[in-house]
């Protein structure tokens, strides 16, 4: 089975700071990481390959810095990686991104060998759209199941995807080729291994394709191919903290003190009273 797994190289949003004066995110100097929600997808791809043979190809549309992230995935055991990188791809929304990814997958099918399955993570930590899997499936015309926790092959060219909803576990039998998106934290990723990482460093099994290789209409990629307009962003106002330190004598004293603070706070007390006693 040839499995493609999508990787996004994202700024570590935990390290991104907010400039309250200008209302913008301070991204400078923030290290990038592999999108954490991609790891269950990577793990699922590797498990399927380990069980049924074949190869795992990590794919990413990103600037060249993403090679570091692809090396991590190769270190986990992926066989190859494909980096789709071009200035013409920059500034893409999910539509333009999924278009480039789908075309990259088609090129893999043509030149490396037919792709049976594409797996994506649930969503990314820096944009949280959860669009990519569905959109890639649409471009390719392949069936799509998301929220997947596990999958196995059943019969000829059919994969059974397990999907957990709030109340039930659903099983979908879908014909390959197909696209899956995993649920957040569905599978625990394996660690990087010395021999795999060494191979990644020495053999550099990373194929780089620019738009010269893909030959896409530049009106369909990057900023030009992105119909999404971010009309406005309203940042959550920064709440000025009072920074009061109180050293309670015991838990009872602590509870009293907190309640007193809350009930004497003009901004909080009315809501509290309403919630507790329905008072207006």
């Amino acid at each position: 089975m040839r499995i493609v797994v999508g990787i996004k190289w994202v700024p570590n949003t935990q390290a991104v700071r907010f400039d309250p004066k200008t209302g913008t995110l301070i991204r400078a100097g923030v290290p990038s990481i592999v999108n954490p929600h991609d790891f269950p997808a990577i793990e699922l791809a590797l498990r399927l390959r380990d069980n049924y043979g074949g190869e795992v190809i990590a794919i990413s549309m990103a600037p060249p810095g993403a090679i570091q992230g692809l090396e991590h995935v190769l270190g986990m055991g992926a066989d190859k990686a494909v980096l789709l990188t071009d200035r013409k791809f920059a500034g893409a929304d999910t539509l333009a991104t999924s278009y480039v990814l789908a075309k990259g997958i088609e090129k893999i099918s043509r030149e490396i060998g037919p792709v049976d399955l594409a797996i994506f993570g649930h969503e990314t930590i820096d944009s949280s759209t959860a669009h990519i899997g569905a959109q890639v499936a649409s471009w390719l015309g392949w069936p799509y199941v998301y929220y997947v926790r596990d999958a196995k092959l059943v019969g000829d060219g059919v994969i059974r995807a397990l999907r957990q909803t709030e109340k039930a576990v659903e099983e979908y039998d879908i014909k390959l080729p197909a696209v899956l998106a995993t649920a957040i934290k569905a599978l625990k990723p394996r660690p990087v291994r010395l021999s795999y990482k060494l191979r990644a460093k020495l053999e550099k099994p990373i194929i780089i394709w620019t738009n010269d290789d893909l030959g896409l209409d530049p009106r369909c990629t990057g900023l030009k191919g992105s119909p999404t307009i971010v009309a406005n962003i309203t940042w959550m106002p920064e709440v000025p903290r009072k920074k009061i330190v109180y050293k309670p004598k015991d838990p009872r004293d602590a509870a009293r003190w907190i309640l007193r603070q809350l009930f004497t706070d003009e901004a909080v007390a009315p809501f509290l009273r309403k919630a507790l006693w329905g008072e207006e």
Binding site: E55, Q68, H72, G75, G77, D79, P191, V192, R193, L194, S195, Y196, K197, L198, R199, K201, L202, E203
Partner: protein, 436 residues
């Protein structure tokens, strides 16, 4: 998966891409050896935490273009030492006559050193932890990481202070809490202009500022303040064994983070970083200092030990030096390895040259010379009484309402207040100093 052409053996495997490992790897790769560096962090430098000041001359012997190429933040032009006691602060301020040390982040510096090694041809594999140094018939033959083994003619152990691999190998004993210290540090976003205005520095000038006194609440150790380009590093170093005892006996009131917090809001120091945010905080173990942490042997058949793992750290209370020692030991190890290969291979006998060279070098001589100071700094007579007495005397001299005492009167009075006799103090000092 196919592991087609990946070699299962290198000439040299270096464990750890810190200053010690990267300098050895750089020199060996430059000499034509096939070198692999294995680092558990994501990229070299990401696991590093130190104070802030590095002595340049030993590094220039490895990288002659250091001054031009390295990520140097500021050259240290002012050294300060403060005695802090109950709101009183006495400070010695020394303006240096020449540039010997610079400030930088070790994360940046270690990355630069590792990049140099890679440029010279070494292979760096990061995000991989070495679990074991493997031996066969008393000879080191390689390393193991998870299920993977990799062979080497020689392994350079540069794993740093927490030398789990050496312990497994039986070369180092389990850590004795009395030989190690805990370092905690915050990076404060003060801004370039504010740093220079508030500490009277000009562009590129830096300050190294060590603090002694009640900020460590009776635990041997001290505080540090280093100026980076636009931030200030503020931290504490605490004797782990003594801190543990104090915590167990109830003598210690605060947790370590609270101690650091109190230092940050100390009215005398806090004005330097007023209005500034804490960007990051972290902790790292370090060596108390002296020679006690040195393994009995720094080499064996197929192995050399460099840097912190070899116990090469000087911690006198008024200065802490490990990076330049680490780099220099890496250089000596590389030279000894090159010689060993010329003479038939990395046998125990050939590698003994490394220990010999190290013991002839300034690194070992410094450690021997200062071992008395290290002991002295652990003695409560000095690290607590000294700040108390100094500030007591200054208080008597300058806080008099009408009649000022003479210097001698003030000194004797503050000795009396600390229940210490001058003669006993001098005797004790003499007995320690004579052992230096």
């Amino acid at each position: 998966m196919s592991n087609s052409n990946v070699p299962s053996k290198f000439d040299v495997v270096v464990v750890g891409a810190g200053p010690a490992g990267s300098s050895a790897a750089y020199l060996l790769a430059k000499a034509g050896f096939k070198v692999l560096i294995v680092e558990r962090g994501r990229g070299a430098g990401t696991k590093e935490l130190y104070g802030g000041k590095i002595y340049a001359p030993p590094l220039r012997e490895v990288w002659p273009n250091l001054d031009k190429e390295a990520p140097i933040h500021r050259w240290v032009t002012t050294e300060r030492l403060s005695f802090v006691w109950k709101g009183r602060v006495t400070t010695l301020d020394f303006k240096l006559g020449r540039r010997v040390a610079f400030t930088t982040y070790l994360t940046e510096m270690a990355k630069w050193m590792a990049d140099k090694a890679v440029e010279a041809g070494a292979v760096l594999v990061d995000e991989v932890r070495v679990d074991e140094i493997i031996t066969e018939g008393g000879k080191v033959i390689g390393i193991r990481s998870g299920p993977d083994k990799l062979y080497a003619d020689i392994v350079v152990d540069a794993e740093g202070v927490n030398r789990i691999l050496l312990e497994k190998l039986g070369l180092a004993e389990k850590i004795n809490p009395d030989t190690v210290a805990l370092g905690v540090k915050e990076v404060i976003n003060v801004g370039k202009k504010a740093i220079e205005e508030r500490l009277l520095l000009t562009e590129n000038e830096g300050m190294a500022w060590l603090l002694m006194g009640d900020i460590t609440q009776g635990i041997p150790g001290g505080g540090f303040i280093y100026t980076m380009k636009d931030t200030i590093a503020l931290g504490l170093v605490l004797h782990i064994g003594k801190a543990y005892e104090a915590a167990k006996s109830g003598a210690l009131k605060d947790t370590v983070p609270m101690m650091l917090e109190k230092l940050r809001v100390h009215p005398y120091f806090s004005r330097i970083w007023r209005d500034a945010d804490v960007l990051e905080y972290g902790a790292h173990m370090t060596i108390e200092g002296g020679l006690r942490y040195m393994p009995k042997k720094l080499y064996m058949n197929g192995l050399v030990v460099v840097g912190d793992a070899a116990g090469l750290l000087l911690n006198t209370g008024y200065t802490i030096r490990g990076v330049d020692f680490a780099v220099y030991s890496g250089k000596l190890a590389a030279e000894a390895i090159i010689k060993a290969f010329e003479n038939g291979g990395p046998t125990e006998e050939n590698l003994s040259l490394y220990e010999h060279m190290l013991k002839q070098s300034f690194v070992y001589k410094e450690l021997v010379k200062h071992s008395g100071i290290v002991k002295m700094m652990e003695d409560p007579t000095f690290f607590t009484k000294l700040p108390a007495i100094v500030n007591g005397m200054m208080g008597k001299l300058f806080e008099a309402d009408y009649e000022e005492p003479t210097v001698l009167e003030a000194l004797l009075e503050s000795f009396r207040e600390e229940e210490m006799s001058l003669t006993r103090f001098l005797l004790k000092m003499f007995s320690v100093v004579s052992r230096l």
